[in-house]
């Protein structure tokens, strides 16, 4: 049996980070992953991540994956792909299917970082082709370059449903609706807002009654539910679609840990059955650690930190690191982790109805019910002035741990006091209109407004991640936060820059009184 100091199962952010830390300390390390590509979820994530610099915020997920992979390779970590771990036995024997054979390995320490699997819901017709997981849609689009369908209904308004809805739009699909049985949008408001402003309708307190079709789905019917999740007759809405995406949560995949005899607990807030782990990722079985989504559904950013801790802990367990180093690393990583676990979406606050921001501002109810902050509510957070000169309008209305806007501004115009605080403008306005904040906001919630460009017009610069990029001089309409047409608009500038990392900036000219409303552009072609 081939022996390794450290065997890591799963090459996602948690597994790669764990292997890096182990290998750094001299452990002979291998990672097995059943996929043909390493990186786990990261390689599908083409969007910019939230957080701060330490959490690699504003970097797109797949870039983070590439960085981790390069670092692991540089440290001599062996990454074996197309290698499904099918068993984990006593004495840390790892059984792997590789090609057409089953091989046995022995790890002196084992870290399980197998991530999670998508939940499903059943309804009449859910087994028709075309009813797929949102993660599957993401894999099709972002890994294989295949559009899952033309017209899609998304069930689930959590972050996965919202992010994938946006990516479906980017891939050129029509998203007919985002529905969710919950009464409020569960994901970040900014993710919802960037979908809503393109004209997608949100149906909260709604779920699917049935999907229809023959060879594949061709229609879906949703209806409103009451507090007891019973359908309310007469509220049915039918959409013709060829795809239904389910984004109804994830469940940790902890089977290997169960097989190895680790104690598991069922904790609904963590997504289901999870191993009992201590602060260093150690399970109840000697020398077996768990990190990432497998020990509770969270984020790639936290998965990386948990992975790092588990990697160092494995090194310490094997005598390759001293306890003091481990304690220091745990303290440092825990600080980073606790930063991520702050704010309105903190694990402990999930499901709570938050009424006020930390700043004491009444939260936007429309954002929770319809996916966008309405014109009246936005005034509580920001306002566009009708004066000449640039001004960033920051439509970031929830306390989420994120601050790239502050760090990127070369003139220090933006303050984010604690990481979850709402961004604020400094009193003096030194904005040069460079647009870096607009491009770097992972929530696409920053706009630049020049309130008076002459002739009663204003310029609004918005983040634009669709193709084709409209050209200077193009004519079209501006859409409001709610995705409805607010006025005619002309493209005065379209900027592409490597500093913007593929978030292009579109500047549109609109009547000055519309500067506070115009938040998206639909082209009607060149004049």
């Amino acid at each position: 049996m081939k022996r390794y100091d450290l065997i890591v199962v799963g090459a996602g952010p948690a597994g790669l980070s764990a292997a890096i830390e182990g290998a750094k300390r001299g452990l002979k390390t291998v990672i097995f992953d059943e996929n043909e590509k390493p990186g786990g979820q990261l390689f599908k994530q083409i969007h910019k991540f939230f957080g701060s610099k330490e959490h690699r915020a504003k970097i797109r997920g797949f870039k983070i994956g590439e960085e981790l992979l390069a670092e692991a390779a540089g440290l001599g970590v062996e990454v074996v792909l197309n290698a499904a771990v099918i068993g984990l036995y006593q004495e840390k024997e790892v059984v792997v299917r590789i090609g057409e054979a089953v091989r046995h390995y022995k790890g002196d320490a084992v870290i399980v970082a197998t991530g999670a699997t998508e939940n499903a819901v059943y309804f009449e017709g859910w087994d028709l082709p075309g009813v797929i997981g949102a993660g599957a849609a993401q894999t099709m689009m972002n890994l294989h370059g295949v559009r899952p369908g033309e017209k899609v209904l998304m069930l689930g308004a959590g972050n996965v449903g919202l992010v994938v809805s946006f990516q479906l739009l980017q891939a050129g699909c029509e998203v007919v609706a985002v529905a969710d049985a919950a009464s409020a949008v569960g994901g970040y408001g900014v993710h919802a807002a960037k979908v809503a402003r393109t004209g997608v309708s949100f149906y909260l307190s709604h779920t699917i009654i049935k999907a229809e079709g023959g060879d594949r789905v061709n229609a879906v019917t949703i209806a409103e539910v009451d507090e007891r999740f019973q359908f309310i007759p007469g509220t049915e809405k039918r959409f013709e679609v060829d795809t239904v995406c389910l984004a109804v949560g994830l469940s940790p995949m902890c089977q290997l840990l169960k097989m190895a005899g680790c104690r598991v607990l069922e904790i609904p807030a963590k997504g289901g059955q999870v191993p009992l782990v201590g602060t260093r990722g150690e399970t109840s079985a000697d020398g077996i650690f768990a990190a990432g989504d497998v020990s509770g559904i969270e984020e790639a950013s936290s998965a990386m930190i948990e992975g790092r801790i588990a990697g160092i802990a494995a090194a310490e367990y094997l005598g390759y690191a001293v306890n003091a180093e481990l304690e220091a690393a745990i303290a440092e990583n825990e600080a980073a982790l606790s930063e991520l676990r702050q704010g309105m979406f903190a694990p402990g606050r999930r499901g709570d109805m938050v009424e006020f921001t930390d700043e004491g501002i009444h939260v936007s109810v429309s954002l929770l019910k319809k996916g966008y902050v309405n014109d009246e509510e936005i005034a509580r957070f920001t306002s566009a002035s009708e004066t000449p000169g640039f001004r960033p309008i920051i439509e970031c209305t929830q306390n989420i741990p994120c601050n790239p806007c502050r760090d990127v501004c070369p003139r220090n115009c933006i303050k984010v006091e604690s990481i979850t605080a709402l961004p604020r403008l400094n009193e003096y306005n030194a904005c040069s209109g460079c647009g870096l904040c607009v491009a770097s906001c992972p929530g696409q919630a920053i706009f630049l407004v020049n309130g008076d460009v002459g002739g009663g017009f204003a310029n609004v610069t918005l983040p634009y991640e669709f193709l084709p990029l409209p050209k200077e001089g193009d004519r079209g309409v501006a859409l409001g936060r709610d995705g409805q047409v607010v006025c005619e608009a002309w493209v005065s500038k379209a900027q592409i820059s490597s500093a913007f990392d593929k978030t292009n900036l579109l500047t549109i000219k609109v009547p000055a009184e519309m500067a506070g409303k115009a938040r998206f552009f639909k082209s009607k072609g060149a004049v």
Binding site: E34, A101, V102, R103, A120, Y122, E124, D127, Q255
Partner: protein, 106 residues
């Protein structure tokens, strides 16, 4: 075991959506699962053996939560009271010829 006695006393009541498939791999319907509970199947492990729900290609990855919730509702207990089925190797479906091709030495 109050719940058990209660369920055995209660009649199986057919529902409109009993025909909906819950376990896609083994094509087990909602009605079959509900009825099995009335037949005396009270645990996830028994359900796997009795109907094969959760025993197919995905090994219950897709349906286990839903089967569990359905059984709990039928039994009138909170889902947390039902234990998940035992995890067994192989964790992923493996063809017999591959399983037979074991490379022990290396």
């Amino acid at each position: 075991m109050g719940a058990v006695e209660r369920i055995l006393e209660r009649e199986f009541v057919p529902a409109d959506d009993d025909g909906v498939v819950v376990c896609r791999c083994e094509e087990i319907t909602k009605g079959e699962i509900r009825r099995a509970v009335h037949d005396g199947i009270f645990t996830m492990t028994e359900m796997r053996r009795y109907l094969r729900a959760g025993m197919g290609l995905c090994q219950g990855q897709t349906c286990a939560k839903n089967v569990k919730a359905l059984m709990a509702r039928e039994l009138g207990v909170p889902p947390l009271e039902l234990e998940h089925a035992t995890a067994r190797s192989p964790m992923r479906p493996v063809e017999m010829y591959v399983l037979a091709n074991e490379e022990v030495a290396d």
